[in-house]
Symmetry: C2
Subunit: 223 residues, 2 copies
Amino acid sequence: MRQAPASKKPQDRYETALLGLVAYRELSAFERLSSDARFSPTLVDRESLARLAVAEFGHYELVREHIAAKGLDIQETMEPFIESIDALHERTKPGDWYESLIKAYVIDEVSADFYRAISQQLGDEARTLVASVQTSEQQTGWLRERLRLSLCDDPRLASRLALWGRRLLGEALTQARSIGEQYDYWGAADAVAHNDSTQPMTALFAHLVENHSRRMSALGLTA
Amino acid sequence: MRQAPASKKPQDRYETALLGLVAYRELSAFERLSSDARFSPTLVDRESLARLAVAEFGHYELVREHIAAKGLDIQETMEPFIESIDALHERTKPGDWYESLIKAYVIDEVSADFYRAISQQLGDEARTLVASVQTSEQQTGWLRERLRLSLCDDPRLASRLALWGRRLLGEALTQARSIGEQYDYWGAADAVAHNDSTQPMTALFAHLVENHSRRMSALGLTA
């Protein structure tokens, strides 16, 4: 994994990295989701998944504008994250449409939680950006209801999707840790060095797992 | 291929068929293009192709609203065209990114010409709709320039892409003929029966081929 473009202050470097990370995640999420849409069981489902994908592309466009406004190169900014994000997608290819829905549900939400935690270390601008690229409650709601309906129609799906959800969580956390370490957890590592009474990293991961469990329970699945 | 939902007047039946045809073509074009975007040679290309795909989805949403406003069911309206359009996509899977660009360039434009010709037989509403879902000149321009650049970089591409372009034209025309026949060429067949001095179908196909040749020439390719 290459480093983000060099910058004077660590704060700038962290901000640039966050922009690149979010931008590439949104672009690749668009591509994967829209490819999966084709395998939807009904036309209405195809349309809904396509709409979700298009929303991700809208987020990408937003971040791209931020990056351009800062005078940074979009390609260079995303570059350090491509290999890692592509590899995660390759390792988590959905076997069918339901796995694709769970992937959108799990990875989007864990990522959103992770970005939110990162942006707390940065300024208001980063916080606003992260908030603006979050999947809307309407769309998360659609995913949840659609999954609930499928699980109700075919209870045998439950164990397979629960297992798949755990695998996705594992992959997402491994990636968060690896990227986090490379960027000193966006400055949180410094904070710890100066005041080692807390372990914010442990707290962050516990928080990510807890939120995930809550979301899986909302589907009636064991996290 | 199933018939479009029954309606009293042939004119209504033709209009409904046009809506269903355009809607499904846009939805499937979105899915295919966005899947292809992943294989783009550069990030900028990925972004541009994704933007093209998102525009197709925007067109789909527009047609969907028209269909809903008429009190028709979107799924039922698209149904008669699914098999034929899916089959065309299966027969024309791009072998690489360049073939994917040519596919967008050829099929979009031939379809647009075909819809425009059909809509001349129908009312103002149909004409306005067809105009509103056309690929923008900006996007067609991007496709043309991007293809020209690739052909300039690698002249060996020319013969392969010229051959591919001819195959795509053949597939598009075969489909247009098959759908056209099923819908009496949107009323043009009646006009001919009453006044058989002209052969509008022959003229329509000659027009489609001529426009295609002009577009291929614009790339420096032999149509």
